[in-house]
């Protein structure tokens, strides 16, 4: 995302998310469920949502897509596309929050 000029150099803000404080994600048999203290609700997670939550520490969206691509053997672009709506769902459910951890020169 082209955001600003710093010292005359265009920079990109990397969208990165962390799990919101107190969020719990638990495997129940073959399924995944999360508890959101923000809403007090329990949510059923699909595989993509659970995978993303597990990989939040890896880095930003692109980095996570890269890890999943390497793990599954699928093209990065395909993985990234399949994750498009996941971020919104996780954020809307109160499970993750966006952080801006520095700008990367473009």
């Amino acid at each position: 995302m082209l955001e600003l000029l710093r010292d005359g150099v265009a920079s990109v803000t990397v969208a990165r998310y962390v799990r919101r404080p107190g969020v719990r994600v638990e495997a129940v048999g073959e399924g995944w469920y999360a508890y959101s203290p923000a809403s007090g609700e329990t949510l059923r997670l699909n595989v993509e949502m659970a995978a993303v939550l597990e990989l939040l520490d890896v880095g930003d969206e692109a980095a996570i897509a890269g890890v999943l691509a390497a793990d599954t053997g699928l093209p990065v672009a395909s993985i990234a596309a399949s994750l498009t709506g996941i971020w919104d769902q996780l954020r809307d459910a109160g499970l993750i929050q966006r952080i801006t951890d520095g700008a990367v020169p473009s």
Binding site: G22, R24, V25, E26, A27, V28, G29, E30, G31, Y33, Y35, P37, G40, E41, T42, R44, A50, L53, E54
Partner: protein, 331 residues
């Protein structure tokens, strides 16, 4: 919380008490019904209500001694000219009239629904699964289900075959004690299930039938001595059955995986959202720890027999049966 030190009787039961004594208690300071997990104070000026209450709470004590009260209820006859033309009775929960009145000859179903509503709203130290619950060998069999699934019918049938009734409506999980507790009230039977239970156990103590309620015809099966005497006992988690009555179906018991059990618990509780993480932990523990089956049935005797076989074959029962299942979670 009620004193759980003794299950022995300290007063006459409602069945033993003289009718005027019961009516007088209800019209005066009230009657305290010890349901196990809670004490309910009820007052009423309706002689009809006194009669009906006695029929379906026969073993409960004529307790007029006051003390701890979790919920206060009054069944009050409507005033004015209406009481001569078309008598009605109001349900007051903790001083509030939150429902439309009922016909004056049918206060009992109103009382039962109203108190269930209050329990679901007020007893938030317990996680209240929408489930029947019975106990055997110290372990609870939980029957979570949606209305119309035959949950109450099955719960009633099990209670008539030696299982201890905890409730047909509330699987009441006590997080502090790690077990299920009683919310002991009569089992509410609806429509065909009344005849089914009468055929299943001729002579079962079923109270009067109330036709034309908003749920059709209802009647109530009184709790037995085992249920009353054990109402303060805690039942450890045993097994979970998801019942489904289906016309003409062969009896089927299909084992369920934890991922199938968890939503049946977490998304089918009265106050899950109120308890938050405590409820999440309880549902996790039960889904992971209890063996579970889906029961499809049309013939009650077969269904009960199937559950008896499952129970006797559990071996290492309840949570112990699944204790070796690793608990996974994302840190």
């Amino acid at each position: 919380m009620p004193d759980s030190s003794s299950a022995s009787r300290t007063a006459l039961s409602l069945r033993e008490a003289a009718a005027p004594a019961l009516a007088g208690a209800l019209a005066g300071e009230g009657l305290w019904l010890d349901l196990g997990a809670l004490r309910l104070r009820v007052r009423s000026d309706s002689a009809v209500f006194a009669r009906q209450l006695r029929q379906v709470y026969p073993l409960f004590e004529l307790d007029t001694g006051g003390g701890w009260t979790d919920i206060q209820v009054r069944m009050v006859r409507a005033r004015g000219l209406r009481r001569w033309v078309a008598p009605q009775v109001f349900f007051e929960g903790d001083g509030e009239r939150v429902f439309d009145p009922f016909p004056g000859d049918s206060p009992l179903p109103h009382f039962e629904w109203g108190t269930n509503w209050l329990v679901g709203r007020r007893m938030n130290h317990l996680l209240l699964f929408h489930a029947g619950a019975v106990e055997r060998d110290g372990l609870a069999l939980l029957l979570p289900a949606m209305p119309g699934s035959g949950k109450s019918t099955l719960t009633a049938a099990l209670s008539l075959r030696g299982w201890r009734l905890l409730s047909d409506e509330f699987g009441a999980w006590d997080p502090e004690r790690g077990g299920f507790v009683s919310v002991l009230k009569p089992v509410a039977l609806k429509n065909e299930s009344i005849d089914v239970i009468e055929a299943f156990a001729p002579g079962a103590p079923i109270g009067p039938r109330f036709p034309k309620t908003r749920k059709g015809t209802v009647a109530h099966l009184a709790a037995d001595e085992r249920a009353w005497a054990g109402r303060h006992a805690v039942a450890a988690p045993g097994a979970v059955i998801l019942p489904r009555w289906q016309a003409g179906a062969e009896t089927q018991l299909v084992p369920l995986a934890p991922e199938d059990v968890f939503p049946a618990l977490a998304f089918n509780a009265f106050n899950y959202g109120v308890l938050g993480e405590v409820a999440f932990d309880a549902a996790l523990r039960l889904a992971r720890g209890c063996p579970a089956w889906r029961l499809v049935y049309s013939r009650l005797d077969e269904a009960v027999a199937a559950l008896e076989r499952v129970w006797s074959g559990l071996g290492r029962r309840g949570e112990a049966a699944a204790a070796s299942v690793p608990m996974r979670g994302l840190a």
